[in-house]
């Protein structure tokens, strides 16, 4: 698929279109002219060695940084949003992009259920008449709150945390905190879910559960998922599409099978980290493919 964006969005426009994204901090260029797209109902993974600029891309997408150059277009629910022009909280509120964080950011002193209700803040705020009706005890708000609790319960059931609903979020074990953060992001009713290393620190069982959860989100809720991940087993198994970054540039973009065999990707990984960060078959491929090609390859499929 072509990565050069057009101003008018055709009917089958991608959910998210990133065009020429560049982010500089002083003299450091963390992300350099990166373009890619993420589709509805697909899991798009962004991979790359440490310091490749993955989280910076996320931070630009979710409004924590405003990009130096570039256009970030989101097409969903019959609207188009230019994310780079929106303030951070509006991206979640209006464009419905939800995210999780590399170092989990829950509200540790609040209960699990409260965490999920905070995620439904804007909806509940309207229902409580900006607090005025809620303060006076109008029934409309009570109904909205029950609905929000049910919504939270649905996601708690999905991540098997219903029995911990009243515990403080900060007291959950690490793996459950990760799952809660995803549930919380889903409670905002997003069209695009951005996950920053959701499998980090999970044991193999938990990792498998995570795969299932992400596939469930994609298939049942039909939203796009953008995923930063180091764990190649997760990435290769569930991604529909992979974007590879290295030193802030995009070096490959395509299906898992394509990316796995791309020499530039292999070089980037082996130049940066030990070989065992890659699945064994990739290492095997590397042994055969000694010949080098130009970087920035794109899967024509």
């Amino acid at each position: 698929m072509s990565m050069t964006g057009s101003q008018t969005m055709p009917a089958g426009a991608p959910l998210l279109n990133v065009e020429h994204l560049t982010m500089r901090f002083g003299g450091l260029t963390a992300v350099n002219d990166v373009s890619f797209a993420a589709n509805h109902r697909e899991i798009t993974a962004i991979i790359g060695p440490n310091g490749a600029g993955k989280t910076t891309v996320f931070n630009c997408l979710t409004g924590f940084y405003s990009p130096t150059v570039g256009q970030l277009t989101l097409n969903a629910r019959n609207s188009t949003y230019l994310l780079e022009r929106m303030e951070g909280y509006q991206i979640a509120q209006k464009a419905h992009v939800a995210r999780t964080f590399q170092n989990i950011r829950l509200f540790p002193q609040m209960s699990v259920l409260e965490n999920l209700l905070v995620a439904q803040h804007n909806k509940l705020m309207r229902a409580s008449g900006m607090s005025f009706l809620g303060l006076l005890g109008f029934p409309g708000y009570r109904k909205a709150e029950s609905a929000a609790v049910e919504h939270a319960r649905y996601w708690l059931d999905r991540v098997n945390l219903t029995h911990r609903a009243d515990a403080d979020a900060g007291n959950l074990p690490y793996g459950e905190q990760r799952k809660l953060e995803i549930a919380r992001a889903m409670c905002t009713d997003p069209v695009l879910l951005c996950l920053d290393e959701p499998a980090a620190g999970l044991n193999p069982t938990e990792s498998l559960e995570l795969n299932e959860l992400l596939l469930f989100i994609r298939d049942e809720h039909q939203i796009g998922v953008l995923l930063i991940e180091h764990d190649m087993t997760v990435v290769m198994e569930i991604s529909d599409h992979i974007v590879v970054l290295d030193y802030g540039r995009k070096i490959a973009d395509g299906s898992p099978a394509f990316v796995r065999n791309d020499p530039a990707v292999i070089r980037a990984y082996l130049g940066e980290e030990e070989g065992d960060a890659l699945p064994p078959e990739v290492v095997a491929d590397l042994a055969e493919e000694k010949k080098s090609n130009g970087g920035g390859a794109t899967d024509p499929a």
């Binding site: 964080f101 209700l117 409580s128 708000y141 029995h163 009243d166």
Partner: protein, 445 residues
């Protein structure tokens, strides 16, 4: 990573005695260095016109150093042993036992709450409550109310406001000026004073609330000082350091508390056919502040269960996460800031009507610090904690009036100690505002 030996956890095994001695000796040496300049010498007047000289107090230095040595040697290991023992016991408790203890505690809290409420409601009726205790009750309740108001800002929203007293001052001066120049009564002025204070809160909050927490603290502190300096120097309006006197007293729905009311006005005791007593007004004031305080409390408890209140707490916990969930941090903080200011404004107009006189002296930084200490000591976010801390701190103040300086000394030391010991305050336990697995408590607002 400890620099000095004093940091290493030491048991009380016999083998440790030399180490303990060394540890205590180091502390004593440090105390000596601290004590020599300020304990050892005192700059004192040599008599009128003779200038200043040094008074030497080596006995004080010796006593201090000895006390530190002994204290470090005996007290510290003992404290450590006790805390270790407590920690072990806590570790041994099963999760269920903890749950039971929580339930018991919650029950005990409820009982305490009811007792306090009954005591507060009947306070003026107790036979031993004289004029002084009644005044003390009013004072404590004023601080309880201010504490609850500040609790919204600091305890719930996590915004460190060091200039809270500025809003209190705005409320007091609004009432005084409105009452004097426009001849408005207390009940008409009260909402206006609250609105003014809230307006000031928004004016200040709008530009500064996007700042990091500690910058906010300094800016609010500066704002508090600006308000005070303006009150001191804007003589035409505020009468500067002379203050405003002759502020109208509140009336009981139009009935003044006066022995001899003006022609055509019925006073309280005449209307109810009572003998005139000056305590009527005091008792009335007591109930006014009790009701104001309870309104503040009711409001806060209610807000905590609303999305805005939850967003405040979420902001205190993690602002970045809040942004990622579509919460507008600035507006949410602004509401907390303005509502906190509004309650300070109410408190201020009550203060003005109670005193009948206000001057900038009543609105110094130390007042902000006391209110903050009440919130911090009680446990940030804990409503009951504020009450207990206010009773303790203000009660102590009044009982030990002569020891003013020592009180503030203990005050400062107490703030440090509580932060070191329990950074979230004494009654820091927080109950969720809504429960999923407990239908009795669920259901929200």
């Amino acid at each position: 990573m400890a620099v000095d030996t004093s940091d290493k956890p030491t048991g009380i095994a016999a083998a440790d005695i030399p180490a303990m001695l060394k540890d205590a000796a180091i502390s004593a040496l440090l105390a000596l260095a601290l004590a020599i300049p300020l304990f050892g010498f005192r700059v004192s007047s040599l008599g009128t016109g003779q200038g200043f000289g040094l008074e030497q107090r080596w006995d004080l230095v010796a006593v201090t150093v000895a006390a530190v040595f002994v204290g470090r040697l005996i007290l510290m290991p003992a404290l450590r042993a006790v805390s270790n023992w407590l920690r072990e016991r806590r570790g041994q408790r099963s999760a269920e036992a903890t749950e039971t203890i929580q339930t018991v505690l919650r029950f005990a809290k409820l009982v305490l709450l009811i007792k306090l409420l009954v005591a507060a409601a009947l306070w003026p009726a107790f036979p031993w409550v004289d004029r002084w205790l009644l005044d003390l009750g009013i004072l404590v309740l004023t601080y309880v109310m201010l504490g609850w108001g500040l609790n919204i800002v600091v305890g719930l929203a996590g915004l460190l406001d060091l200039g809270y007293v500025a809003f209190y001052a705005v409320g007091a001066y609004s009432y005084a000026l409105l009452a004097i120049h426009f001849d408005l009564g207390f009940w008409q002025c009260l909402p206006l004073a609250g609105a003014f204070a809230a307006f000031f809160g928004i004016i200040l909050g709008f530009p500064v609330l996007r700042l990091r927490g500690d910058y906010l603290a300094i800016v609010t502190l500066g704002f508090g000082e600006i308000i005070r300096v303006i009150l001191l120097n804007w003589y035409e309006v505020t009468k500067g350091p002379d203050g405003i006197s002759g502020i109208p007293r509140p009336t009981f729905f139009g009935l003044p508390f006066k022995r001899n009311p003006e022609e055509g006005v019925t006073s309280f005791h005449q209307y109810f056919d009572l003998d005139f007593a000056s305590t009527h007004r005091i008792i009335f004031l007591y109930y006014v502040i009790l009701i104001l305080a309870l309104i503040t409390n009711f409001f806060t408890l209610r807000m905590r269960k609303l999305p805005l209140g939850r967003a405040w707490e979420a902001l205190r916990e993690d602002e970045i996460a809040c942004r990622s969930l579509g919460i507008n941090p600035r507006n949410t903080k602004l509401t907390a800031f303005a509502i906190g200011a509004m309650f300070a404004g109410f408190g201020g107009s009550f203060f003005a009507t109670r005193q009948g006189f206000i001057s900038p002296e009543s609105f110094t930084f130390i007042e902000s610090a006391i209110i903050l200490a009440i919130v911090v000591l009680g446990g940030m976010g804990s409503q009951l904690g504020v009450v207990l801390a206010a009773i303790f701190l203000i009660g102590m103040t009044e009982f030990f009036r002569e020891l003013e300086q020592f009180r503030m000394l203990a005050f400062g030391a107490g703030m440090v100690a509580i932060m070191v010991w329990r950074p979230r305050g004494l009654l820091a336990h927080r109950d969720p505002t809504i429960r999923l697995n407990d239908t009795k408590r669920g259901g929200g607002a």
